[in-house]
Amino acid sequence: MLELALDRRLPGFHLRTQLVVGDEIAALYGPSGSGKSLTLLAIAGLIRPAAGTIRINGRTVFDGSADIDLAPHRRHVGLVFQDYALFPHKTVSGNLSFGLAQGTPKNTAVDRVNEMLHLLRLESFAQHYPHQLSGGQRQRVALGRALIGHPEILLLDEPFSALDPAVREALRRELLQTLGDFKGTILLVTHDLQEAYLMASTIAIIDEGKVLQMGSREEVLHQPRTRRVAEHTGAKNILRGIACRGQDGDWDIVWRGHHLRIDDPGQIAPGEVECCIRPEDVRLVWSDRVEQRVNLLRGRIVHEIGRGLDYLLFISLSDGDDRGKYDLEIQVRSRLHDLMTLYVGKEIWLSLPPDRLHLLQSDE
């Protein structure tokens, strides 16, 4: 359990993170420079916030107003750095044993190191130096060094960014396996949304030093709270329209003259609203099935980007008001792209499924 509320001003940047994370894997997701790594450093005690509190399992490790500021090694925090920060002059064993608390008896230390070497499958590398290891092995050593002292919480700063994309996938699974026995809070920092989704059950979106939204990974992905969250999570289509009640009493959003149905209007009020839909949620409609669809639109492909497995199509609505740019970005699998023989300039039908259309609240 980790509770924190931080405040620190840096030149041109204001960090004011607030988080409560239970005993689970949570991801701190945001672009570079958003303050996510800074937040980790503050939790570990390596930078000092100007104000705020940090509590680990109810134990206050930092309190700006009560002048509590525990030294990093007294916080029982395991921190795995982005490029692992192994001690280059120490062997794998030496790196691991450094993670043990000061004054651990020699026999116990040897046993614990051996145990950890076994767990990490690095027995035959005990006497190797970090520069003799592969990226994945280094990551394991860094993880083992952070875990060997039984920290209460574990912080991982971009654990995969130093690795080749080819090995990332396998190492994610491996890391999750190794972390399986860890019972406390794990906070993972990443700028890769997919990685956040794969590793964590809860995702916090952070930007400009502030947590914009925190929730289950599904929620963050499919129900962004505000426009800024939507922009960060890849809900590229943001439609600005007018909310009004339809004839049947349900809410409609009028966007570019089309009355769009929305399944979950939430706390909607009449007037100008914004809603969003992810590029992969927009459906292409075969022309013979047009009658069965709601939120039907007709548009022309103005641009496309083939990405191998899928295509990004940029659609301009055919409503007589062609402004020369696109109105919707949609993502279709290459197979469907070929089946429907799509090309730039072609007119197509598409629909915005009401359960995928999501209403945004205004930024505060």
């Binding site: 450093l41 920060a85 002059h89």
Partner: protein
Amino acid sequence: MTQIPLSPLLLSLKVAGLATVVTLLLGTPIAWLLARGRFPGRAFLESIVVIPLILPPTVIGYYLLLLLGRQGLVGRLLEQGLNIGLIFTWKAAVLASTIAALPLFIKATQGAFEGIDRRIEDAGRTFKPALIVLCTITLPLAWRGILAGSILAFARAMGEFGITLMIAGSIPGRTQTLALAIYDAVQANQSQEANAMSILATAAVLLILVLVGRMTKVKY
């Protein structure tokens, strides 16, 4: 065959060795402060440190003479308070060499500290108290730079001439170091002695360099 005077060489080795030790003890904390510290006056300290590199040695020697001489502020305190006479003794030669060697040592060592990835020290601090991190992570990682700085310091101390002449003089058998003795030999037209001592000085310094290089093979 002329007898080669050994005492200037021995004196030089003693003075330079001691000066190197003092430089190491004094310079390492300063270098660390300059590399890692954030405090008001850091820039000032940084420029103070290099002054001995820029000023003519005789000028530094003259200032020291004013400061440490019988009438000088520090000199009077030392002589009356602690009964230590510094000027024109081998101790003054050590001081002269230390002052000449410090800037070189500090610059090399500061570079070594700055070259350490800060996150490695940070990682250490999450496990152990800062002092232990300094002793088991920072210093071992910087030691090659510290050693290089020490060699520079020793070499500079062996060659020290100007400041030494000003505050220690050139008293044969007492404060006449090798560099001074060679100068005197040349002045007195004793070219054989000058040759012998020059070769001796070269050999001694080379030998030390080779020995140090041997002791410091790195395995990582």
